[in-house]
Point group: C3
Chain length 131, copies 3
């Protein structure tokens, strides 16, 4: 599971980077806590972090579930697509929120494949295991 651990870890480092960009945008925009609205640049950064959080909660268990069923290599490959997709999402969303679709798809799709594949793998394993 070392490969899976590394890919999950890198996805989390990327997420922490997004969170730090939110902190930077908060200082630059002058939006004072607890507010999270009132400046478009801040809101774009904030939404990138939140959307990444929304996906990570499914991506991380999905990686573990999928790797158990089909091995670490394919899981890691899907995870790398996720990480690249998130970076495209970040760049395009901050530039223009209307351009966020491709980056979103490149991270949403691997997440769905990991979760659905993980479920199928566990069902197969249960069916095939002796009583």
């Amino acid at each position: 599971m070392d490969l899976v651990t590394i890919v999950i870890g890198v996805a989390l480092v990327e997420y922490v980077f997004f969170a730090m960009m939110v902190g930077k945008a908060r200082v630059q925009s002058g939006i004072k806590a607890p507010a999270t609205t009132g400046n478009d640049v801040f809101e774009r950064h904030y939404r990138v972090q939140m959307n990444t959080l929304e996906l990570l909660v499914a991506f991380i268990p999905g990686m573990v579930m999928f790797a158990r069923a089909y091995g670490s290599e394919i899981a890691a490959g899907l995870g790398i697509v996720f990480i690249i997709g998130r970076f495209i999402y970040y760049k395009s969303y901050v530039a223009d929120p209307d351009k966020r679709s491709m980056g979103f798809g490149l991270s949403f799709l691997p997440t769905v494949i990991l979760v659905i594949g993980g479920i199928i793998g566990a069902v197969m394993n249960m069916v095939n295991s002796p009583m």
Copy 2:
């Protein structure tokens, strides 16, 4: 742990479904990113997804912790109550946010039982294991 994997996976599929309903509500309401306010129907769907995210971050580790201590069957049973509770929450929140209590309780309570039970199980295991 196959049973636990399947139940966690189904809870994640339900969550992805809620996220897709948010996307649909965004298009129908005309609320443009990065905004997350300004239309009541969109906000209800968005809050359902967010509240599910808020619970999943405790529910998923809780399932694993609890299953380790008391076996997969009881954990899976509590997980199924969570999944049903979330669906009731979704249906009632979108219809009328004031009616969300029962669905919330049916997913909040299993989550608390899983986490507290998981802690007690791990403490018991530590106390009983030889030095």
Copy 3:
């Protein structure tokens, strides 16, 4: 992993406590769902919960990754700093959002150490393991 399970569990109980304080603040402030803005006291509690959620999604896998590489004891120690840091964050944020830095740092830093340390540990393990 019992020690790691207990520390993650206590961090989740603390998070559930923050979530319950949000519920209490919602009732007291009269902010009706789906709204999450409009009252400063409610928004402070809400932001404490959200920020804790934002960190937990990295903290929990970080604890497991780090413990695998360097043992449960150091991971648990960092986890306890996280839990204390979060409580200071809660207390200071609710009192005055401008005073939230120290509590944030005390929970953000352990999270980053857990994730980065976990990645390094897994890379080392891969490099050193026979082909």
